[in-house]
């Protein structure tokens, strides 16, 4: 017997409840990544080398090293410095930091596409750097990069199973526990795979819709 339907029905509600934690981690992690990424992008474009160079180093470092180790780093190393975080908080922080670095490159591409004249016009109008960014640059830079950000939203969602490594009770961890309790891993892990596939496909369709909507609204 390769597949036990009654067992699948029995574990489905438990997995459905666990998926709430997964979605929570995704949404909070991405909210963090989106804001942190913007901050990194602006810092990396700074004229002051002492801000832009360390920021560039940080982004390259985070992008070249595994998320799993970064999760461990935040979960195990921060307590050494007196910052003790819960597993879920540490996980969301790691996801936000990791994908924030990716998002910062997306924002940077958007910011660099703003014509130079827009900057010059802000200078001519005597706007402060804060107002230049807030009122002129960012409103033009964000809409074109939304689809690329959406892709990272889906990618972040697919990385949430890593939180099971620090015992966050998300989908993967729940599936592993169910598997070891019942000595059957096939159904829980397959169902988790199906859940991810369905959500990814829905999210990808959503990203395409947003892309279309933005194009339409901007008269493209």
């Amino acid at each position: 017997m390769f597949w036990d339907w009654s067992y699948s029905w029995e574990i489905l509600p438990i997995l459905a409840r666990a998926s709430i934690i997964t979605i929570e981690a995704t949404v909070l992690g991405f909210a963090l990544a989106a804001t942190f990424g913007l901050l990194l992008a602006v810092m990396r474009m700074s004229q002051a080398a002492w801000i832009s160079v360390p920021t560039a180093g940080f982004v390259e470092f985070v992008r070249s090293t595994p998320l799993l180790i970064q999760i461990f780093f935040i979960y195990f190393v921060l307590p050494e410095f007196g910052v003790t975080l819960g597993a879920m908080t540490a996980g969301i922080l790691a996801l936000g930091m990791h994908y924030g670095s990716y998002c910062s490159e997306v924002y940077r591409a958007g910011l660099e596409n703003i014509p130079r004249g827009q900057w010059e016009a802000s200078t001519a109008l005597n706007l402060s750097p804060y107002h230049t960014f807030r009122d002129i640059i960012i409103p033009q830079a964000i809409p074109p990069v939304v689809p690329a950000l959406g892709n990272y939203f889906v990618a972040l969602f697919k990385e949430t199973p890593l939180l099971s490594a620090i015992a966050v009770l998300e989908l993967m961890q729940t599936a592993k526990i169910l598997g070891s309790e019942n000595f059957r891993y096939t159904e829980p892990i397959t169902l988790v795979g199906v859940f991810f596939l369905v959500f990814s496909l829905i999210a990808a369709a959503g990203v395409r819709r947003v892309e279309y909507w933005l194009k339409y609204r901007r008269g493209g």
Partner: protein, 241 residues
Amino acid sequence: MLQRSLVVCAILAFTAGIVVATFADFRVFLPGLLDGAAITIEITLGGCLLAVAMALIAAAAKMYGPAPVRWLAVGYIEVFRGTSALVQLFWLFFVLPHFGILLEPITVAIVALGLNVGAYGAEVVRGAINAVPRGQWEATVALNMTRMEALRRVILPQAVVAMIPPWGNLFIELLKATALVSLITISDLAFKAQQMNQTTYRTVEIFTIVLVIYLAIATLITIGMRTLEHLASRGLSRGRA
């Protein structure tokens, strides 16, 4: 490139300095970490080879195959891109034995990562082949080349150059994904890090050094791919602006 190398060198030198100056007993855990790094490199190389093979097969099947073969390729690409690498790894690790297929964990690791990255790679291959201007195909027809000849002598040499940079990114993604294999009991770098951490409690140093080792391997991949791109683009009139 130069700037990035400098940043990496600075990080390496900085960490080496910290390690040597402050924690002279790094000899206790460094050999263990290097053993783990060897396994990580082994899985990365195996996974990269399998990923390239899978990507070429899947892209060819999706672009030129008859309908059933095409659906199979699309199914493979969508399933592996749509689910999580960790879920795929666990699935192969826990579910294959159910079907009587017993593989070494390291084989499972290479197969899972190779299949995962291969699915992304298939789209890279397809994109690169599609990006070769149509006129090139038309020219091969005018020159009376067969389809195979055209692919081999005109289309692929140009597509390969366009493929190399995205493949470099994918190889680094694969390197980073190897950390997941520590969760199916393979003693790679990430596993060794946790093991050493539990025995020596040198949390800060161990995880910092481990991150730097990953960064160093990723930088080697980047340098290797840049060299490859340079070699592959010789004699072609395209290049980076």
